[in-house]
């Protein structure tokens, strides 16, 4: 699986596409594959604060609930409303189906995240 080179990644299998002040956040293809059929997404409201490393919501498959950990600190500017009725879009296109748009407090936090190559390596080690 190709992980987009312009994204950054976390070990909790989230990605962030930072284009200036606003970043898009989602979960990786590895995450959606592990979860199975996604049936429910629980996301914070616009205006909510996110703190790097803290739980900001959850994604549920038929079988399991999985917490979402924020890759960066910031404020939610937009929530992907489509996912309330069509959460399976995350399964079909995890790297395209963004969950939130976030106003990033400190762009340096993004630089500290994993590159696509490092994330791919991390995933390979997880699954040996």
């Amino acid at each position: 699986m190709a992980y987009p080179a312009t994204y950054r990644y976390t070990k909790e299998h989230e990605w962030i596409e930072a284009g200036g002040k606003i970043g898009k956040v989602g979960i990786t293809d590895y995450a959606q594959n592990t979860l199975g059929d996604i049936v429910f997404v629980d996301l914070p409201k616009v205006g909510s604060s996110l703190e790097k490393g803290k739980v900001f919501g959850s994604v549920e498959s038929v079988k399991a609930v999985s917490d979402l950990y924020s890759p960066i600190t910031g404020t939610v500017t937009e929530v992907n409303e489509e996912l309330a009725t069509a959460p399976e879009k995350i399964n079909t296109d995890a790297h395209g189906a963004w969950l939130l748009k976030v106003e990033i407090a400190d762009p340096k936090e993004v630089d500290g995240l994993l590159s696509a190559a490092d994330y791919e390596k991390f995933v390979k080690e997880e699954t040996h």
Binding site: T34, G36, D37, V39, F40, S58, E60, S61, V62, K63, A64, V65
Partner: protein
């Protein structure tokens, strides 16, 4: 997915473990067994069973044989249902209870003949059940008890096209095998295979018991897959097994029934001879009086999924019960659950709430089963 206490190397495996890996199944620790939870996806597998046919490896379940003239007396003592009602070739759902009326395990009792019965028991309780049986009836006269659990690979073929699928692999006229009845016949060239019209999905289907050596098990698995392929057969894992049995409101040991739950709380007394004849646990149940809590079906009416172990709250926010099993329902496209609630709140339509990660989410009591299959002429209930 929860990890069990054992490392993957210490988990038990069925003869079909290699097949599951070959088919790319996601594996999970189920009661100490390394089992497939899904192959192509729980939703697809679930829908295959409801609309076509699915194939499950259920070899982890246990098989205890009772032989000798003392068999019926032993089973009547151990088992809550009335085994004397069984004809040769007939099976019944039952359970073994402790003296206090709570559950050791649920079980399918098969009568081969007056002196020959097979009890099929749960995987996670194999050893406990066998020790229980030995301790309670082991000294009965004219009785020989054998644990044949490792001798069988057990396959479940479930769905409206199950009969069409299995008919390609046996000369037995499966239309003559009624629901909860069984027979023996040659399947995939293997003689004397037990073929039972039983299952855990709420659909028509069969369970077949074949020798548990790896080459035989592997060959038969792939022959069933090939036979079912034109009908849309999918291999199915424990994930779909759970969502299917939940829609059919079938109990899962450790959830709806357990060592801490009584027969009367579970609502399964219709599968017992309580009040007609004695069995282990009957005295305590008759003396206990009506239960204070009962098992009900719940349907979420606000956005959220009730899951195993979540608290049930009154609309005022008071903790009043708990969810035994909860999940999205792939067929009904609702979020459903089974839960223990106080008897005053068991009427269908009653509104309660389920605590979903700290927040109350409204649900209503609904009748069970959540799903009932359409009756078909080919498989009338016994």
């Amino acid at each position: 997915m929860s990890a069990g206490p054992l490392s993957p190397a210490a988990l038990r495996k069925t003869a079909l473990y290699g097949v599951h890996r070959q088919l790319g199944a996601k594996m999970v620790d189920f009661g100490g067994w390394d089992m497939p939870v899904e192959y192509s996806g729980i939703t697809a597998e679930h829908m295959a069973v409801r609309t076509a046919v699915g194939l499950f490896d259920v070899s982890h379940m246990g098989d205890i044989q009772f032989r000798g003239p003392g068999s019926l007396a032993a089973i009547q003592a151990l088992s809550m249902n009335d085994a004397s009602k069984l004809a040769d070739g007939q099976a019944q759902y039952s359970a073994m209870l402790y003296p206090q009326g709570t559950f050791v395990d649920d079980v399918l009792v098969h009568k081969f003949s007056n002196n020959d019965y097979l009890l099929v028991i749960n995987a996670g309780t194999r050893e406990k059940d066998y020790q229980w049986i030995r301790s309670q009836v082991g000294s009965f006269a004219g009785l020989h008890i054998s644990d044949y659990s490792d001798y069988y690979t057990q396959l479940a073929i479930q769905g409206p096209r199950a009969q069409d699928t299995l008919s390609k692999l046996t000369a037995v006229d499966l239309s003559t095998v009624k629901n909860y009845w069984f027979t023996w016949g040659t399947v995939c060239g293997l003689p004397n295979v037990l073929i039972a019209r039983t299952g855990y999905t709420g659909e028509d289907g069969f369970e077949i018991y074949i020798p548990s050596d790896e080459p035989t098990s592997t060959r038969v698995w792939y022959e069933v897959m090939e036979a079912g392929e034109p009908f849309g057969l999918l291999p199915c894992g424990l994930g779909a097994r759970n969502t299917l049995r939940l829609e059919a409101a079938m109990a899962l040991y450790g959830h709806e029934i357990s060592e801490d739950i009584t027969l009367l709380e579970s609502g399964l007394e219709r599968f017992s001879k309580l009040g007609k004849s004695d069995f282990l646990g009957s005295q305590a149940l008759l003396a206990a009086g009506p239960p204070k809590r009962k098992l009900v079906g719940l349907e979420m009416i606000e956005r959220g999924i009730a899951r195993d172990g979540y608290k049930v709250l009154s609309l005022e926010g008071e903790a009043i019960g708990y969810v035994t099993s909860g999940s999205p329902s792939p067929y009904l496209k609702k979020n459903i659950a089974l839960a223990y609630v106080p008897v005053a709140l068991t009427a269908p339509g009653t509104e309660v709430a389920v605590e979903v990660r700290g927040n109350p989410v409204k649900a209503k009591v609904v009748p069970t089963p959540f799903y009932r299959r359409a009756k078909k002429p080919a498989a009338k209930p016994a």
